[in-house]
């Protein structure tokens, strides 16, 4: 696993070099007349602030100039962010509400769910659902009419790209597996949750 903290602080050229290994799972290094292909299959996790001062977001405590925000957002290029399957916005929680919230399940319980979900993926012939290609998705991650309606709304409003839709279906497939639902048709709940886990990137540029 590769964890990049403060993704926006990396030079754009460096972030660009991630694209090939993310696509192909390999890194090609060429020197003189030799090319070496090295395996580079990894899980990429990144964290970033919405702007350089770290206070950004709709509540508006940001102290950055417009130019600084735009430059910062530009480094996190559209194509790079589009390759993330999960984009989770983390905001400052309201303490009172959180203290009253129900507690989260134990790791062991979650681990068991993951093992069960992986088993379902194995039955489909893949190590994990990320490996499902377009035609496999059409057979094994089918959108029911309600789910399709949700996806269409996002596609039409431009907040979801075609490539993004593939990713959403894979995530929804996994959410269904984690819930113990192995059937080919994806329930609307999982598709909605997968869409919600794919946060709008425009907010980084300060568009509310």
């Amino acid at each position: 696993m590769l964890f990049l903290d403060e993704l926006g602080e990396f030079p754009a050229a460096v972030l660009d070099t991630l694209r090939q290994p993310l696509e192909d799972g390999v890194v090609r290094v060429s020197r003189a007349r030799h090319t070496v292909v090295l395996p580079a299959r990894f899980l990429l996790v990144a964290a970033t602030n919405p702007c350089p001062c770290g206070e950004g977001g709709p509540h508006g405590a940001c102290r950055c100039s417009e130019g600084a925000r735009t430059r910062y957002a530009r480094r996190l290029s559209g194509p790079l962010l589009d390759r993330f399957d999960l984009r989770v916005a983390v905001s400052r929680p309201d303490v009172g509400d959180l203290l009253d919230a129900p507690s989260a399940p134990a790791t062991a319980v979650v681990a068991a769910r993951v093992v069960a979900a992986r088993a379902l993926a194995a039955e489909r012939g893949v190590r994990c659902n990320a490996a499902l290609d377009g035609s496999a998705l059409d057979r094994m991650a089918v959108l029911g009419p309600a789910a399709r309606r949700l996806a269409e709304h996002r596609l039409r409003s431009g907040r979801l790209s075609a490539r993004g839709l593939h990713r959403v279906r894979r995530v929804a497939r996994t959410l269904a597996d984690l819930a113990g639902e192995g059937g080919a048709v994806l329930d609307e709940r999982h598709v909605a949750a997968a869409l919600e886990l794919r946060a709008d990137v425009a907010v980084l540029e300060g568009a509310t």
């Binding site: 709709p58 609307e188 946060a199 509310t208």
Partner: protein, 404 residues
């Protein structure tokens, strides 16, 4: 030899020169000025001491500048404080003027349908003509500025909250429906939202006052908005085609916004910002300023709240602004809500949603739902226009969003 060019052509050429602030242009054209925020050192009180230059025709002014002798104008030297500064400015302008084809530039403006009105000419907007800091030249595309009804400026911060944006859209729409002409700066955030509301109403014509040439929409994201406002109403600027909306032009532009308005509404403003300048310019002209009250925790409202503390009238509803303009709300039945009623299952989620952006984590804690069920409810509410969300933050919508 081409036909003689009108005076406007030379004013266009002069205002295209780099660093030709409004005060400097006026100094060259021989007009005593009370000063604008774009020039330092000239205030209404300083007027008595300023050397008063004889009125110079734009064509002579151009000749003077082109020959590098702009520093022979005492009013300009006074403005720039030292003879050296004036000499440098004169040299820079002469160099820039050498590359400028006046006839071609004028032709561009004619072909683009840009109307150029000089102070004192019949077409010049009457409302600006008597202003103490009237621009010497006004460029316009679109309809006449003859205001057949009151004008109200809606201004605010670029980085507004979603709630502030919604208020701006509603005010824009409500005021336009009541027949007021809405003036704003076409900036990101509040300004753009106000005009989006006006366009949605499809009634009274918007007026967009911009800080550059009409061929350089700023910000780029508002390119379409500029075109729509020009189509439905008018775009106004103190600068010719080709001018970029550089930051030094904004204070000057804000005074034009204030000068064109019968009332100014600040929807959301930070402690310091362009809309605070617009409010100051309005107060200096005796134009009433209203402000929308905001959360005391929100820095985006710190400036607008301060205006309230200093005596601006609160704008808590459309009626407050209409009252300031002595307008009536349009008669007739209130517009029915076109949205399908939310399903009963969505009740708890709607109740947990606030009018300010609320995070998913908070909604999960408040409703006790699992993420999948919550996501479905939110998605349905969004489809029907009852909620709006992005990047993990959701809020209720008071009215169906215009143009989404």
């Amino acid at each position: 030899m081409a036909a003689a060019l009108p005076a406007e052509a030379y004013v266009v050429a002069l205002s295209s020169l780099p660093g030709m602030w409004p005060g400097r242009l006026a100094a060259l054209l021989g007009q005593r000025r009370a000063g604008t925020s774009g020039d330092r050192g000239c205030g209404p009180l300083a007027a008595a001491d300023e050397p008063r230059a004889p009125l110079r025709s734009p064509r002579s002014a151009w000749t003077l500048v082109r020959s590098g002798r702009a520093d022979q104008e005492p009013a300009l030297v006074h403005l720039l404080r030292t003879a050296d500064a004036a000499r440098e400015a004169a040299a820079n302008w002469a160099a820039a003027a050498a590359d400028l084809d006046v006839a071609r530039l004028w032709g561009r403006h004619r072909r683009a349908g840009v109307v150029v009105d000089l102070l004192g000419a019949p077409g010049y907007p009457a409302r600006l003509a008597c202003d103490r800091a009237a621009p010497y030249v006004i460029f316009r595309v679109g309809r006449d500025l003859a205001l057949d009804g009151p004008a109200v400026a809606i201004v605010g911060t670029r980085r507004c909250t979603a709630g502030g944006r919604e208020v701006a859209v509603e005010l824009g729409r409500g005021l336009a429906e009541a027949g007021a002409r809405v003036v704003s700066g076409l900036a990101l955030g509040i300004d753009g939202a106000a005009h989006q509301g006006v366009l949605a109403a499809g009634r009274a014509a918007p007026i967009g006052v911009v800080a550059g040439g009409f061929d350089r929409p700023y910000p780029a994201r508002h390119r379409n908005l500029w075109a729509q406002v020009a189509e439905a109403g008018a775009l106004v600027s103190e600068w010719p085609l080709g001018a970029r909306s550089e930051s030094w032009r904004f204070p000057a532009r804000n005074r034009v916004i204030a000068a064109l308005a019968d009332a100014v509404v600040v929807v959301e403003s930070r402690e310091r910002g362009g809309s605070m300048i617009t409010a100051e310019e309005a107060l200096a002209r005796g134009i009433p300023v209203l402000a929308v009250p905001g959360s005391i925790r929100n820095p985006a409202c710190a400036g607008s709240n301060r205006l309230l503390r200093d005596g601006a009238a609160p704008a808590c509803a459309l009626e407050d602004v209409l009252a300031a303009l002595a307008l009536q709300a349009p008669a007739g039945a209130p517009r029915p809500d076109p949205r399908p009623p939310p399903p009963p299952a969505a009740g708890p989620v709607l109740a947990a949603l606030g009018w300010e952006p609320t995070s998913i984590d908070l909604l999960l804690a408040r409703t006790g739902l699992d993420p999948g069920s919550l996501a479905v409810q939110l998605a349905h509410l969004e489809l029907d226009g009852w909620a709006s969300g992005g990047a993990g933050l959701w809020q209720r919508m008071a009215a169906p969003e215009a143009g989404r």
